[in-house]
Symmetry: C2
Subunit: 522 residues, 2 copies
């Protein structure tokens, strides 16, 4: 799993100053260039290190980080094949003006590069592959025992999710919880943290988990702050200068992984110690610190952040009701003109809290309704457990009935037009998304129709176009072709119908969908 | 109706330079101070005139306007009682350094001052009276014959509306239409407009209508641009410098009326000739030109403007589906944290177009659903007519069945807590707005329940509080008290119920509402 993480321990700075190393890394892989430097004093506070990576006219400025024991690391992710040269800048002579080069080889199979915004409301990998977000959340999975973390990775390897929300800071759990193996800062309670020193072991472990997710093809939506500390460690109440140092250190360490997304916070408005102006500034620090421009968002409880701000790449929202129908879900898409991810729409489970007691059918419904609105939805699970082994909080195994249906859902998505699903007629109730004239995905939710009169909204249509239809049972995971071809005729100002006025027969069950795809004319 | 519009024709500038006039105007009334100045050349382009109105330390800068025939006007609306002094500034000696004073008397009955934003999501008059927006739209009513305009005013005098959307530029009508009495600019077609000269007669007429609305207690939401010109006059395609001059002139003339609101455009995104940057700039010109800070908004077709911009005071939105349930309607409130007015939610009528064929029940439902979401809704009417006398376009009479119900609705609103209705539990479906612990207004829409188990969301509640209940039939316009008092007990983490588990009996009809008001404890 560390095959992309090539670490060169350069024990001799003199050697490093000569570009003689045959360093190779695949495109969008991660390479660490390690330099030996001063260990005395407080290197976290006193030593500055960065490097310019260049290829032809291109320049990428990478901030190094101190990894303990006199070891300094430049972590680089090349976004183009070929030779890259680098040269360091430092306020310490032993680290300054070091030079070297590396070769970026073609990306290996399954490496599509980082995800970014595409077509206003959608996502795509750097190699052009669409990214159809089917996310889950397990806040603290990377702060558990090795055995439990391995189990989580094993679960994820067979789960339908291509993104996971996870916190960088640990969370205490309801029943108290035991001490963790490591913490982001040096020091310990009750004596207190040394906020001027990070604990590299904590970050090395966290990075390993991020890299393992990458190797599973899963994006890591890293939550940089959260309000759940509850006075245990105080990581939610650090002074602004500590927050800023923490952000720069975390970004320097993590930005080199192609699967990283930045989530400034979970339920930011519950972090009572920070003002809106601070959130704005933290966003801008992350943006300025990250040479790879990973996706940036922030997640709310009751107050919406102004996602129109230019440093927000996509909308990440919690709402109990918004994904229950597409007319609700489409609204934030229209407001922000950015990709919209409803990362928290309540969770499948049996918790007493109303946010954690969705039936699996309701969880799956929200993914479909979100997709019909041209948006994306997130899953998690909150089933009670005697050991408090809850997926949402700690990972482990999935027990619910929604993941299998979400795998089916993801397959349907990935067979859709690569430019993304967009509402066909968002102005009034018409439960179809797709691409005008070409592809229509409809979803009837909890309605139980026994027939659907074939009717398409006017845009992109003309008399004589021909379509085939499949009936999809989203719960029972079946796709059933409908006999025959539907040829359309204009009916009125808004609608084209089958020329023979045919309807599609439906089984009178809930959670049914339709896929209507244009076929060539005769 | 012109009783507040005191016009002093100062024929002698020398006289005006001495503050000897016993000018009086009521607080928030409109006073015109007229000065005689140069009529030669092009005064619209060449003569600058403004005045500083002062009272103690307060200063209000008012831009004057040229009204033709050598007449220049400073139109002033005092916002405080007592003496105001004024002094002019001009690039023409005969208009410069003129001085005078006036006395603002107490506001008369029915004069509550201008409306502004209050309590984040609501509106209030300057004297503290709540403004419960119940709006209508008649785009071109002030561009009709005198007889038809008088009929419209007569209709409005007995209608439930306290705001009307109306265009400053005229609209051509489907069947061609005849020439208008006057146009905003000098010149005529086909020869062309002189965009360097306004026609004061056009504006004097328009202002008279605005003042008549004011005297009826109706806010004039003046639409400054619209996309409906269709090549007839070209007012939607003027060069930017003409647009800017037009805005400044319109604001100089109209800002002195307390009932003015600025709507930058109707369906701004259909005005294809203007860029988003232009809209931003026009907003800022209006803001900078208006010394009274009247409300400012912009109305969309398919693309939402960024209502988070600081120059937008409240959200004005068209959407076919958004006001159909409160969980949709609440979303823009949460996004923008400003008052939200759904000015166009389709119209009552029988048009072929789907935006103009609401049944009256559906029109009224949208007002109620909007209110339950803590937002506001707009009405209009689109019934076909042999003479094209459609309320939406030209005014005249109202034929629909919704206005009577909207009068009833407005009465219910005005009996609600003065701070405004806010959602009681916006996080999931719970169709109540009000004030926690004090006042609950619930609405069941098209559902037809026969009973409602008395249950209130937890915020602001404790065991033993007592409530009385009324059943409201929003369509048949009845309010029926429920016998007895409901005393609450905590049931679970989220809910308080009647201590005797009682339910409210409902008639199994749609469009029913509940009003639940706290009564003193024993």
């Amino acid at each position: 799993m560390r095959r992309y993480l090539l670490t060169i321990l350069a024990l001799c700075a003199a050697l490093l100053s000569q570009p003689t190393h045959a360093l190779t890394v695949e495109r969008w892989g991660t390479v660490d260039i390690a330099l030996q430097g001063p260990a005395e004093g407080n290197p976290f506070m006193e030593v500055e290190l960065s490097a310019t990576f260049s290829q032809g006219e291109r320049r990428i400025e990478v901030t190094g980080f101190y990894d303990g024991d006199g070891r300094y690391v430049l972590r680089f992710m090349p976004d183009a094949e070929g030779e890259w040269r680098w040269q360091t800048h430092s306020n310490r002579p032993s680290l300054d003006a070091q030079r070297g080069s590396l070769t970026a080889t073609p990306a290996s199979a399954g490496n599509h590069g980082p995800v970014s915004v595409r077509n206003t409301w959608h996502f795509g990998y750097a190699d052009g592959t669409p990214f159809w977000q089917v996310g889950t959340t397990s806040y603290g999975w990377a702060h558990q025992s090795d055995a439990l973390e391995q189990q989580t990775l094993q679960t994820l390897a067979h789960a339908p999710f291509n993104k996971i929300r996870m916190t960088l800071f640990p969370q205490p759990y309801e029943k108290g919880g035991s001490d963790l193996r490591w913490y982001p800062f040096a020091g310990q309670l009750p004596k207190g943290w040394d906020f001027t020193r990070f604990d590299p072991a904590f970050f090395r472990h966290f990075e390993q988990r991020v890299a393992q997710l990458r190797d599973l093809g899963i994006e890591a939506d890293i939550i940089l702050f959260h309000p759940y500390d509850r006075g245990r460690w105080g990581f939610d109440q650090m002074p602004p200068e500590v927050n800023e140092r923490y952000l720069r250190y975390a970004v320097a360490r993590l930005a080199g992984y192609r699967n990283v997304w930045w989530s400034l916070a979970n339920e930011f408005d519950l972090v009572k110690s920070k003002t809106m102006a601070e959130w704005d500034r933290y966003f801008q620090i992350v943006r300025a610190s990250d040479p790879y421009h990973h996706l940036r968002s922030i997640h709310n409880a009751f107050v919406f952040y102004n996602h129109n701000q230019p440093w927000v790449t996509h909308v990440s929202v919690q709402s109990g009701a918004i994904a229950k129908d597409p007319e609700r879900a489409v609204l934030l898409r229209d407001v922000y003109n950015k990709p919209v991810v409803y990362d928290e729409v309540k969770y499948e489970g049996n918790f007493r809290q109303r946010w954690g007691q969705l039936k699996p059918e309701e969880m799956v419904l929200r993914f479909w309704q979100g997709a019909i609105a041209g948006t994306y939805v997130g899953h998690s699970e909150s089933y009670t457990d005697p050991q408090d082994l809850v997926w949402l909080a700690r990972g482990g195994v999935l027990r619910g009935d929604s993941p299998a249906r979400l795998a089916f859902f993801r397959k349907i998505l990935s067979d859709s037009p690569a430019e993304g699903l967009n509402p066909i007629d968002k102005w009034q109730d018409y439960p179809f998304a797709g691409k005008h004239g070409e592809y229509y995905l409809g979803y009837f939710g909890t309605a139980t129709p026994t027939a659907w009169p074939f009717a398409l909204f006017r845009t992109g249509l003309k008399d004589g176009l021909r379509f085939k239809v499949e009936v999809i049972d989203t719960w029972n995971m079946t796709v059933t072709p409908v006999d025959g071809i539907f040829e359309i005729r204009k009916r009125d100002d808004y609608t084209y119908v089958d020329k023979d006025q045919r309807s599609i027969t439906l089984p009178g069950r809930p959670y049914m969908a339709l896929r209507i795809v244009r076929v060539p004319s005769i």
